[in-house]
């Protein structure tokens, strides 16, 4: 019996060496699912750190409100774990919105420029600042540092180009 066990141990040792595996690229796959708003609501300074945390197992998959339920489903499917509903203490999923600077009160202090994770704010010291709408991810990180509170979040209105067909409501419930 012990002979058998020793033999198997040797075989496994040899196999372990031959089948050395490099680090698998799971972090990139998780990062690909995350919405890249870099908003930090998940408790990590950006999407990539959150992705690494999930890969190492010390973060849950339901801490990303901008990702919404759909993002969690995809993460659960990728990692083969059970789907967990969005954990409310990290915030509620809000309609996609864009930050807008009220140009009458902006004093050009560049604090929001340093805070913006995706460099979506154009401006220089003592010059007028403005936000590039297409680049802004709606992460709301620029609102806090602004000393004169001139930044407000404006939800993106639906226009003819972005309008989506609605899910057909089948009136079966009512008699």
């Amino acid at each position: 019996m012990s002979g058998l066990a020793v033999f198997l141990g040797a075989a496994l040792g040899f196999a372990a060496v031959r089948f050395k595996v490099q680090e698998d690229p799971i972090v990139e796959q998780i990062d690909a699912i995350l919405p890249q708003t870099q908003c930090g609501q998940c408790g990590f300074p950006g999407c990539k750190p959150y992705a690494t945390a999930i890969a190492n197992g010390d973060a849950e998959i339901n801490q990303c409100p901008p990702g919404g339920e759909d993002g969690i489903h995809k993460l659960a499917e990728l990692l083969g774990v059970e789907f967990k509903p969005l954990n409310a203490e990290h915030g509620e999923p809000k309609p996609k919105s864009v930050a807008v600077i009220d140009e009458t009160t902006c004093i050009g202090c560049t604090l929001c420029i340093q805070a913006c994770p995706v460099d979506a704010i154009l401006g220089a010291a003592k010059q007028m600042h403005t936000i590039i709408a297409q680049e802004c991810t709606g992460c709301e990180l620029c609102i806090a540092p602004c000393p004169v509170d001139c930044i407000s979040m404006v939800p993106i209105a639906e226009d003819v180009a972005t309008w989506k067909w609605k899910y057909p409501v089948v009136k079966l419930k009512v008699a």
Partner: protein
Amino acid sequence: MDIQSYILILIGTVFVNNIIMAKILGLCPFMGVSKSLETAIGMGAATTFVLTLASGSSYLINQYLLGTDLTYLRTLSFIVVIAGIVGFTEMFVRKTSPVLFRVLGIYLPLITTNCAVLGIPLLNVQAQHNFIQSLFFGFGGAVGFSMVLVLFAGLRERLEGADVPAVFRGTSIAMITAGLMSLAFMGFAGLVK
């Protein structure tokens, strides 16, 4: 032992007394891995590989190593061999397709604890199969296991879109489907004497 009886053993283990449907063995991977088709196929292949090797080597151990007096060591030795083979398979799968490894997750090492994997060698011993017969029996059992697993995965994927009442959604409707499947497999009863 001509070829005709081997075919009978094969048909017997794959259809008539199927590991999952008739013998109700190996239910935990059956329920756990059948969520999607790819994972089911991956799991089926891995189990077939492990089972064929296990039933072959377990026959050898039982015949030559244990002899007649050490039979009480049978289960222990079988488990050791199976663990070794599964360890080997796990590394092999991790190397060849990390995606499958990631998706199978916990169920790959769980093959060791899969009651079918231990059950078949013990059944082999009980039925005093010779080496070739136990190989065929193991292989047939594993093919039956993977076939039913893949079919069940197909059914469950279609079930995803069904408007199942909330109470039964998820595993419960899967259990019911498994029950109805074994009801259908009862039709094969008595096919092979």
